[in-house]
């Protein structure tokens, strides 16, 4: 007789959010395929998600914020929004404009071995301002450095690092096969001031979503401040005053 372990509500929610550890995600995905009752429960919850948001849209919450004199668009702590955006990037791999008015210096990962692996690596030098960018993928309890053409898959956890040789302005962003940009490091949609020094690890990892074909990372730097919008990437890449480091990863599984 097969015993089917009951899945708690919280675990089920984390499964829907894609937040469970890899092993548990895999187990439940397999169960969703083989267990009709479980699959029906998942389907019902996913459908319910849309209905709940239709009945309770964010606008309704905004109205309450405004009634309480707390407009969500008012000037609020940048650090908080940074945390919100980054948490969502890690949890969902969705587009988030990560904006910061400060340098990032620490990596908030509980996986020390990943840090050690990255710290032991040599730096790859590049052209232009001689800025450097490294792209790492978490593998089990360690990490491997990725280079142009490396293969990645949906769900892979990516960590970015950079360094610049002198004070400058810069931003880190990525473009996926759906044409979606994700800002990983910037001051809103503008380049942020960067200080020279050792390789700096962004404080948050980035989980790849199901976008096909490629995931391309850009480190753009310049002596002068510059802005980004989705339509001017090519112009920035051609701009002689803006140096770039590009790592294009190949997306497998689609």
């Amino acid at each position: 007789m097969t015993t089917i372990k009951k899945i708690s509500d919280f675990k089920m929610e984390r499964y829907l959010l894609g937040e469970l550890p890899d092993v548990e995600m895999r187990e439940l995905r397999e169960r969703e395929v083989s267990d009709e009752i479980f699959a029906a429960r998942v389907k019902k919850l996913r459908e319910e998600n849309g209905r709940i948001l239709e009945e309770c849209p964010f606008n309704a919450l905004e109205a309450r914020l405004e009634m309480a004199g707390k407009s969500s668009s008012s000037a609020v702590g940048t650090a908080f929004w940074l945390k919100v955006a980054a948490a969502l990037v890690v949890a969902l791999g969705i587009f988030s404009a990560v904006f910061m008015g400060r340098d990032v210096v620490t990596m908030q990962s509980d996986d020390a071995s990943m840090e050690v692996a990255m710290a032991d690596a040599g730096d790859t030098r590049i052209k232009g301002l001689d800025a450097r960018m490294e792209v790492w993928k978490k593998t089990g309890d360690s990490a491997v450095q990725l280079t142009n053409g490396s293969e990645v898959r949906e769900g892979d956890e990516i960590q970015l690092r950079y360094s610049v040789p002198e004070k400058c302005y810069g931003m880190l962003l990525s473009l996926d096969g759906n044409g979606m940009f994700t800002m990983h490091m910037s001051d809103g949609m503008s380049a942020m001031k960067l200080e020279p020094g050792k390789m700096t690890t962004l404080p948050y990892a980035y989980r790849l979503d199901n976008a096909p074909k490629h995931e391309t990372f850009f480190l753009l730097t310049s002596h002068n401040s510059f802005d980004f919008d989705e339509k001017n990437l090519n112009a920035l890449l051609k701009n002689k005053e803006v140096s770039n480091v590009i790592v294009e990863l190949r997306k497998a599984g689609r």
């Binding site: 929610e13 702590g77 940048t78 945390k83 919100v84 948490a87 404009a97």
Partner: protein
């Protein structure tokens, strides 16, 4: 700073859209009423917004789940005290109405302690363990305490609620 404001608004709306269904279902399971759950769901996000400077957002799902649990317990207790009908199990009702030394921190404005992983409400811990059926290990992970810490906290509550027993 227009860009920052727009980006901040976008980040908060993304947080809401990602987690609102989970928060709603949590509130519905504890309150048992659709309208009340929707109202409470908004309260949870308002609370998060209010306390944004002291929150640990490294695990938003845990934070929102625990916040929803605590606010729902407060709602149940308030209704009980006002003599209103409460559609809750006896266990949940007993936990909701139990004295909790951690409530004092909140009342006294020591919110950082309430929100930090070390000071989650004992009533919330009890709901995770007794109502949700989480093991002591799962509960400990959820609230950032050791298993022995959770057991100790539950025993303090157990002393006030006869029917509760700390499971090993």
């Amino acid at each position: 700073m227009k860009v920052d404001n727009q980006a901040g608004q976008k980040a908060f709306s993304e947080l809401y859209e990602a987690y609102a269904p989970m928060v709603y279902r949590r509130c519905l399971s504890l309150l048992g009423d659709d309208a009340e759950a929707k109202d409470m769901m908004q309260d949870v996000f308002l609370r998060i917004y209010d306390r944004k400077d002291s929150l640990d957002l490294s695990q938003p799902s845990s934070l929102l789940w625990n916040t929803a649990t605590r606010l729902c317990l407060n709602r149940i207790r308030d209704k009980k005290r006002r003599g209103l009908d409460v559609d809750s199990s006896d266990t949940l009702l007993n936990i909701a109405c139990a004295d909790d030394e951690m409530d004092g921190y909140e009342a006294r404005g020591l919110l950082a302690k309430i929100f930090s992983k070390e000071q989650e409400s004992t009533r919330t811990i009890a709901v995770l363990h007794y109502v949700d059926g989480m093991t002591l290990e799962e509960t400990a992970e959820m609230v950032g305490l050791s298993v022995s810490g959770v057991r100790k906290r539950l025993r303090t509550l157990q002393a006030r609620i006869k029917d509760l027993e700390v499971k090993r």
